[in-house]
Amino acid sequence: MYSQLFHIFRNTPLGRETFLQSLYFCKQVQATPVVYIPEFIKFLMYFDNDVVQVDLDDSYLTDPATAEAHTRELLDSYNLKPKYFAPKNYTASTLPDIPTNFDFMCCPRSISDLSSKIGLGYLGPRVRRIVTSARFPVLVTSPVFKPWTRLAVFFGGSANALNALKLGLRIARQTGAPLDIFTQAEKHSRKDYEAIIRDHHLEEELERLQQRWIFFDKGAFETNLYEVPHDALVILGAYGHGLIRNLVFGSKMEKIQSTIPNNLLIVGPHYTAGI
């Protein structure tokens, strides 16, 4: 299957780390990296029911003369063919439109705010908007490049979590990486979760690919997260519930992203690509 990952290149050491994460991901899932070297500080992404303006951090325009050479060098090191994106449509003369039909997009934890803000527990507002609106999963990278060798899927039984599980299974098939499933038992028992998987005919494939299903039936969720392997790509659903429910009960995604430093592949509520 032909898939593409969209990456906005930042010509800085931090940007290099993010780009290396993208390239590694592409190599693993056999996706083509589509590299955008921004000429303008802002761009628009028109999703199905939302338009997101991304105002990039100024560091994205650092030394544009060397940006392409730097990307080529890194692409060559991964033996990947360069594919550069040049905007065709402009909403205003300095406001290009970026297509939204990619299969993946890579974002650092923030693309609009100063890179000094990037840290555990911080996810920029634009990254959140993209995750909420996109049909594709968003690869939120850790600040320093670290290859992942396993997959960890968080499965809480919701529709979004089910999509995350399907994506995890697909990547496990493609990469051959062992897949762990993590579930924090709340109101339901393990049998209920198994029933959901059975209802969606994922039982057989899960048996074939799954290495472990780690079921936390006691302890705080944040504490249990220590069990997540340090070298795993964490796949999870996000923003499946309403704002009020998240405010009252908290969001699992927020707890995960503020506790573990792994690379995250986040599936939003509109995710449809490759299901």
Binding site: Y2, V51, Y90, A92, S93, N101
Partner: protein, 577 residues
């Protein structure tokens, strides 16, 4: 258990599902009220600030006021709101054309504030385009809140524009027509009712907040045959002014783009130049409605020369304000330039033929406004109904029809695209619903892929290939490299037919020897319009789609036309309702 009512998407409520027009009517009324309130807020704010600054206009340093306003407006738009500058209306049309009317939430207030700064300080621009932009953005975001589809969102964008124009001019019919003629570019019954409701809501909220006033007072005109004849000359005059204004704004805009100075400095320079013009000809400053009222009342004292100079000065001032980066629209400047043009023309007629009993000059002021609006927007109905409504009478309908239609036709001859459409047409972005370009723009190569082809390998023997041919229903076969899986070429049945009937060849010829290696390929990211052009140019009916050297599927003209028809039916479905 799922809640029976989804508060996040009212479109799924039973009440609205029975007829989606009910939902659009309710949402349209909400949008009309909100955009009407935005229009009143800007209008009242402008009246207040222009009144407050009026006593200072006599000072020598007053020429700096428009410069300060334009600089602040540019800084606000570019640094605080981070919006790309523009006149607003083309952005709305672009969004309707390409993205189902999706507009940023920030656009619902950003242009109001920036145009308040530009116009309030004396910049020569109008508040209408920013209000249209604001109303359209309100419509778009209400649609997002209600979880509406593209088609419904576009209707609400039209509702926002109609509500805004209706409220600011107290002209619901002009608002309705402007939304249909300029913003949506189609006359669909499904759009008509919600937009009419929004126009009425916008007008009523304006009545409620600022009274039932019409912008310009109504007068009775006794129009004779000779006046009707003279209207043709006026139409030519206003068409000329329209073309000059369009070209001047674009020229200054392009020149400004070439100068490598910060945007706010360029806007300040433009504002400064406008301020200097305003020192000698104060009637060119601001929106200019006061001057129009004086002209219509017959109280505008300056002579022919000064009025002609005012036409030119207002064109230059508007071009400097908008071309250098100030925020605002061309609607109000069009009305002012049109009224100056009408007055100048009338006075020239009276001067040349003093014995003829001409109609009062207020009538030609009205006609001049209609001629300029119709010419620059190339929207004659908007021009006609706007003037009829803002003056409160149908007395001048006959000359209005003449001036508007002649002016529109002349402008269309010299400038085939209107001011709002010109940039979009040049970039190929004006995609009106149901047109060839729009249908093709909504199709992607990925969705047209035919994946029922059987791929064969280069080192496959002809004997094995013949077996595959027997199973296949297609007469073309993509060839891949056995080792790498890379696409190598195509085998077309017509090319290899002689070999198929010669069994001696079966064990001696390989597929790689038979294939056509010089095949035109398509990438899944290619533009369908370009692919179709290539197919037409090379007389191709099928093209392989290849990415990363991998064969993904075939793209055929028949599938493309099949999808084209389906897309056309989707886009024009509402027209037949």
């Amino acid at each position: 258990m799922r809640s029976p009512i989804s508060w996040r998407s009212p479109a799924t409520w039973y009440f609205f599902r029975s007829d989606d027009r009910l939902l659009l009517i309710v949402a349209g009324a909400i949008v009309g009220i909100c955009s009407g309130m935005a229009a009143v807020a800007l209008s009242q704010a402008l009246i207040a600030v222009l009144g407050w600054l009026h006593p200072y206009r006599t000072y020598g340093w007053a020429f700096l006021l428009p410069a300060v306003g334009a600089a602040l407006s540019s800084l606000f738009l570019n640094k605080i709101m981070r919006e790309g500058a523009g006149h607003g209306v083309p952005e709305v049309i672009y969004s309707v054309s390409r993205y189902g009317g999706l507009l940023r939430f920030r656009s619902s207030f950003s242009r109001l504030i920036s145009s308040f700064l530009t116009i309030g300080s004396g910049g020569s621009a109008g508040p209408e385009a920013p209000i249209v932009m604001s109303g359209a953005a309100i419509g778009s975001n209400v649609a997002r809140l209600f979880g509406l589809n593209d088609r419904q969102r576009v209707t609400l964008v039209g509702c926002g524009a109609a509500g805004a124009i209706s409220a600011i001019f107290n002209a619901p019919i002009a608002g309705l027509i402007f939304a249909m003629e300029v913003i949506l570019g189609e006359w669909a019954a499904a759009n008509l009712i919600p937009i009419a409701i929004a126009a009425v809501a916008g007008t009523e909220i304006s009545h409620f907040l600022q009274g039932k006033q019409i912008p310009f007072s109504h007068h009775q005109f006794d129009i004779g045959s000779i006046d009707l004849l003279a209207c043709i000359g006026l139409a030519v005059f206003t068409a000329l002014a329209s073309i000059m204004l369009t070209r001047a704004i674009r020229m200054i805009h392009h020149k400004s783009d070439e100068i490598s100075l910060p945007a706010w400095v360029k806007a300040a320079c433009g504002g400064c130049a406008v301020g200097l013009i305003g020192l000698y000809l104060p009637m060119v400053l601001g929106e200019g409605y006061h001057a129009i009222r004086e002209m219509m009342e017959g109280q505008f004292a300056p002579g022919i020369g000064l009025v002609c100079l005012a036409v030119l000065a207002k064109i230059i001032a508007t071009s400097l304000t908008l071309g250098s980066g100030g925020s605002g629209g061309i609607f109000a400047p069009c009305l002012v330039i049109g009224s100056f043009a009408g007055l100048a023309y009338h006075r020239v007629l009276v001067y040349l033929w003093p014995g003829v009993e001409w109609v009062q000059e207020g009538c030609f002021v009205l006609l001049g406004m209609a001629g300029l609006v119709s010419g620059i927007l190339q929207a004659p109905l908007t021009g006609i109904f706007l003037i009829v409504e803002i003056t409160g009478g149908y007395d001048v309908i006959l000359p209005l029809l003449i001036v508007s239609s002649v002016s529109t036709s002349l402008c269309h001859y010299f400038e085939p695209a209107s001011f709002y459409f010109k940039d979009l047409v040049e970039k190929g972005q004006l995609l009106r619903p149901g047109t060839d370009a729009r249908v093709l723009a909504d199709l992607e190569v990925r969705e047209l892929l035919e994946t029922d082809c059987i791929t064969v390998h280069t080192d496959m023997l002809l004997r094995n290939f013949v077996d595959i041919v027997k199973q296949s229903r297609r007469n073309l076969f993509p060839v891949e490299d056995d080792q790498t899986g890379h696409f190598k070429g195509m085998i077309y049945m017509d090319d290899i037919r002689p070999y198929l009937f010669d069994p001696l060849m079966y064990d001696t010829v390989l597929v790689g020897q038979l294939m056509n290696a010089r095949v035109e390929t398509v990438s899944p990211d290619d533009d369908v319009v370009e692919v179709l052009e290539r197919m037409d140019a090379d007389r191709l009916f099928n093209m392989p789609v290849v990415a990363n050297h991998q064969f993904l599927g075939m793209l055929s003209k028949s599938t493309l036309l099949d999808q084209y028809r389906k897309e056309l039916m989707v886009q024009t479905y509402h027209l037949n309702r």
